[in-house]
Symmetry: C2
Amino acid sequence: MIYELYYWPSIQGRGEFVRLALEEGAAQYVDVARESGKGLGISAVMRMLNGRSDTPPFAPPILKAGRLLIGQTANILQFLGPRLELAPKSEAGRLWTHQLQLTMADFVVEIHDTHHPIAGSLYYEDQKHEARRRAAEFSKHRLPKFLAYFEKVLTQNGGGKRYMVGTQLTTVDLSMFQVIAGLNYAFPTAMRKAARRIPRLLALHARIPDRPRVAAYLASPRRIAFNAEGIFRHYPELDAR
Amino acid sequence: MIYELYYWPSIQGRGEFVRLALEEGAAQYVDVARESGKGLGISAVMRMLNGRSDTPPFAPPILKAGRLLIGQTANILQFLGPRLELAPKSEAGRLWTHQLQLTMADFVVEIHDTHHPIAGSLYYEDQKHEARRRAAEFSKHRLPKFLAYFEKVLTQNGGGKRYMVGTQLTTVDLSMFQVIAGLNYAFPTAMRKAARRIPRLLALHARIPDRPRVAAYLASPRRIAFNAEGIFRHYPELDAR
């Protein structure tokens, strides 16, 4: 099976959670918008969004797996997890994995909305004032709350403190790595303040890039750098104090 | 199996998507915070949130099903769907159902944030100015976009235009009913403007309360009324024009 990932070519965005799973899972895949040629490129993503299908997607990322077209990041990861040996075997374990993935998705919305509190369709510059206020509340309340929660999950994991779920790597660990990496980039000051309280999360974040496949991916041109278009943006004025 | 639902007792909120599935599915359940007695009441929800568990939830709603503790609304509905005969049988059908459920969850966040664009921890009165701006963008762009999408889903459903997925009622139809009901309450002006373009969604919304179990539920004291504490709030200044 060669998977096709439909996502914007110039940002990590939500597609990155899927890319990390595909890479660590050694899946064969095409990052459609980042290739050129027939049926490739960004126009292929647009066609996918505007096409007529029984199961039309609302937004990228979209994964094509044979005849299946799957949307919503957490849904894609739930689908890929067992196929790439990145999910627990039991139903209870999978429900829990997915629950964490969804809680991380909620966190990601809040991270994004620090720079777009009014509308995604407006420029940051047009909502800078509101962004400052939202980011201050975020750094003070939401960031510490979410991080403390995920630290608790690691601490209380019956399978040990090396992984978020059980005794083996899952998509949740890869996604958690991405969230911490993004927060370190976007909110270095807030993260420095939080560090003391999240030793296990930081250790997890430091460990993931030691995995050979992740390391190879991060060093490759396939890994897009953080930038001022994605979810995680470093605007110093939003990381004040 | 007697399910236990842990959710706030005075709002519909995200718990309502679960309540509607439990009711239509004729499940036996206890709405824990709305009952009094030993192990019941709102203190039971707080204990659940602060308790020590291998799978600690971040926030309600939480469903207890035997030994399983399941968080995240869409995750709960994905779990309940097959058990309450409110999900398709095939894997493809279930992935699609869940994808729609997650897209609806995204929509619900945006609906909520119209009145809380800065922080959930602040009063509406303290973010009224920003709320006005966000709600205007929402009514103009996001509300029509999401509704047009769900109308398209109904229109393109290979199983007919009566249900969102396939040829039978799923949790997605019940949730869609709730979203339309909430929007009619919160944004009557914007919904009047949108009506012409979403005939099938409105027909679905009108049909769901004809189902005997839903009808019994909606007429019962178990159904909490819309109010100014939940996701869907009617602030006339946010529904202007």
